[in-house]
Symmetry: C2
Subunit: 474 residues, 2 copies
């Protein structure tokens, strides 16, 4: 295994187990093989879940899984200096893991079709293993998740990626998961609903809406394409493309941005200094409070919602799924009020692509700031306001000419917690007319630099990581 | 400026402004030029400080600076699973900054003789700037600290180091400071109590007890010796040494450990995986509680102390210093009950020195674990117990033959918060008889790898950083 094997797999759709054009029909056949049901229910019909008398928090009776609590936030970032809100508290670190294996010289990824109650289309493509600690310590008395042993007992495999990564800081209080990729030489049984895919095939289906789930995207974003200590093994040339010269240029610049160690606009030390300065500048105080102390949110029989109908609501649902460890259960979910935009501007600087990254404060962040996409906002924050009051750089995204849009799909948030939440994921290339000088809490970074920050965790937020994972060779 | 300028400065004691042998007498002359006084006082004599009625917390009336509060800790790390203790809460991020300048081809560091109330010897060698936010926003109405502008307005200088670093996790609740080194081409006025020194000179005086303060040591530990992206500029040969062949070997191996990108025992990704695994394994819950809810600690007129006389006490003192921004004040200090040991084992592996690093949980850590020295403990945890119950690897330190001790001095903790606290800092080289296989929460790392983790912050704890900063070429 060399790091360049990742790159080669991302160039390749050669796979003896599954042709790219068959992936979607495999999806459909597996969905037909199962019976899934999800319905919204009143909170009173939740089993094993209830509101704590003392705090009003919505908790599982075991005290495990997750709970809906309140936070009081004070910050000098943005225009709102103080607010309270419900938040998901899930202190347990879970596993998100992918098993890989080299077959005929190409690295293949074992992916799972996984049903989650909040999923659009019910099933989405997930990592080999997706397990909370409560799952694998079997709090809910179900079966042990398949392939768990490969990650717990790594003697027959080598670790390629193993890092804690944050999740949505606006919704989760400091939630993190352990993102892992391992490689094995062993024979791996392939169960129903699992399938080997190349990275190139995964990138191909990442160009469709709501197929690859968030957990898969965050794990894929952690792939390092270069060797340690900056020594880059001679890469294969980027793949030929159906879109001609423009596609070839895109692939060449993307490869350069991925392997670059020289042409960056800012050195990594400069970026660390910029980040340090903003961590010092922005204050964030987050106090946990009882859910019933959260102001401007009202609980009814069926939901907890913001009084102005903004942001999200907390609902309850009943789920049946014949292929899960537990085949029926009830649980709370978070339901977004509206779709959002997650967008990044891309610009060729010094011959390589640079991404415009934002230093963003969110209440659930582990450490005040994380590196976020250029734009990360809900529709309500721009639909009803004049152009000049929109979030920075959003107009470049909304008004981008079609030929500058390098990526544009709807992608889902995690269906185990979020009810059919999708966000518009967009990457737009800007040209010479867009200045290299940007607002002070924004900075240009290459893919290679972003990959380094992802490696050391607590730097790049989940929206940014997932968007980066979507950007493959075309 | 090249990164190798740091290395050359650490080889050099050539300095037109100060000969190495004159540093100590300069110290004495500056001490005689000032009048300092410190005395312990009853809490009732504290001015501007008091115990909050509701919580019992010891706070400044402005709400700024720091406060003494309580925490309740639960963890599965170590033998005590739950306890309460007083802790220092200092949410403000302060500056610790050093100005450097190249003179006759050698990089010089502008160091300050700074008085702090808790200092052994009253004054110690400090960074150019050492300022809390309350200092430089002038909450206490004093003069603005000298050289502050150079760090706030960096237009005439370049940043070499700019990173947030943690402080003592057993004493501070998530405290951090911004560690900076800048280089300037400008003329820099050198005020009384300030002096230019080479890094080699600083390392020379780091071999004496309690002269270089903790703030200087942590900033120095952040120095990167290699270029970004692993390209190492041809280093000068390590300096000739007075101690002959043994010294030459030591210098050669230390240089190799500092520049190494190939000979490490574990790749950086393996170390990150090891760290991730232990972050998942160890749980740490820290809840802030009122100081008067802390159990087994008792408050008298003059101190707050543990009922068994262990750990530390909180005291109050009155200070006079004619060279500080404010010339007299009262404040609380934390007084350690006894001296501790901070020790690292060093072993030649693959031709370069490797340090034995521990993954250690402390209640004030930002993120559960930090990388700590091989041994970090107070005397009480080994003096009265049988050898086999001592902390891991401590016996190798206590029983080390003299010729294997590479470093051994007493070094002070921060005199602005700690009253005359010193710890024995020791580095011991072990030989072939010491196995490369170590306990599971320990791992071997080169200096170069440790420097990378220091760069991305939240990895290496202050004890480990400060001990590393002491290790110069001999």
């Amino acid at each position: 295994m060399k790091h360049s094997d990742f790159l080669n797999s991302s160039f390749s759709e050669e796979n003896p187990f599954m042709r790219t054009e068959d992936i979607v029909s495999w999806f459909h056949s597996r969905m037909e093989a199962h019976r899934f049901l999800i319905e919204e229910i009143p909170f009173a019909d939740l089993k094993e879940w209830g509101f704590c008398k003392e705090t009003g928090n919505l908790c599982h009776k075991s005290g495990r899984f997750f709970s809906i609590e309140g936070v009081k936030v004070r910050t000098n970032f943005g225009s709102t200096v103080e607010w309270t809100q419900p938040i998901i508290n899930q202190p347990e670190i879970g596993f998100l893991g992918i098993i890989t294996k080299k077959v005929n010289g190409v690295l293949l990824f074992l992916m799972q079709l996984k049903m989650e109650p909040g999923n659009i289309n019910m099933v989405q493509l997930a990592p080999t293993l997706q397990a909370t600690r409560s799952n694998y310590t079997r709090v809910h008395q179900g079966k042990s998740p398949p392939y768990l042993d490969a990650f717990l007992n790594k003697s027959n495999s080598r670790i390629l990626v193993d890092v804690l990564q944050s999740e949505q800081g606006a919704r989760f209080l400091r939630k993190r998961n352990r993102n892992m990729i391992i490689i094995t030489d062993d024979d791996v049984p392939v169960y129903d609903d699992y399938c080997w895919l190349t990275l190139g095939q995964i990138h191909r289906i990442l160009r469709k809406d709501n197929i690859v789930n968030m957990d898969a995207r965050t794990v894929l974003s952690c792939i390092p394409f270069v060797q340690e200590s900056g020594s880059v093994s001679a890469p294969a040339p980027p793949p030929a493309t159906e879109s001609g010269a423009a596609g070839a240029r895109f692939n060449r610049k993307l490869l350069a941005s991925t392997l670059d160690t020289q042409c960056h606009r800012h050195s990594t030390d400069e970026i660390i200094s910029w980040f340090t300065e903003h961590k010092m500048k922005y204050e964030l105080e987050v106090a946990r409070i009882p859910l019933h102390s959260v102001k401007k949110w009202t609980k009814s029989d069926r939901d907890i919602r913001h009084d102005d109908g903004k942001y999200f609501s907390v609902i309850a649902c009943r789920v049946e799924a014949d292929n899960r460890e537990v085949t029926s259960w009830t649980q709370p979910l978070v339901k977004a009020y509206e779709r959002g935009i997650i967008a990044m501007l891309l610009k060729e600087i010094n011959g390589v692509f640079h991404f415009l990254i934002q230093a963003k404060v969110e209440p659930g962040n582990f450490d005040v700031l994380e590196m976020a996409p250029t734009v990360q906002c809900i529709t309500g924050s721009y639909r009803d306001v004049p152009e000049e009051e929109r979030p920075p750089y959003l107009n470049y995204v909304l008004n981008a000419p079609k030929e500058c849009v390098r990526y544009s799909t709807l992608q889902s948030e995690e269906g185990g917690r979020f009810f059919r939440e999708e966000n518009h994921n967009i990457i737009v290339e800007v040209g010479d007319e867009f200045s290299e000088d940007v607002l002070e809490n924004y900075i240009w970074m290459t893919m290679s630099q972003l990959k380094d920050f992802i490696r050391y965790n607590n730097f790049v937020n989940v929206q940014c990581r997932c968007l980066l994972s979507c950007l493959g060779f075309i």
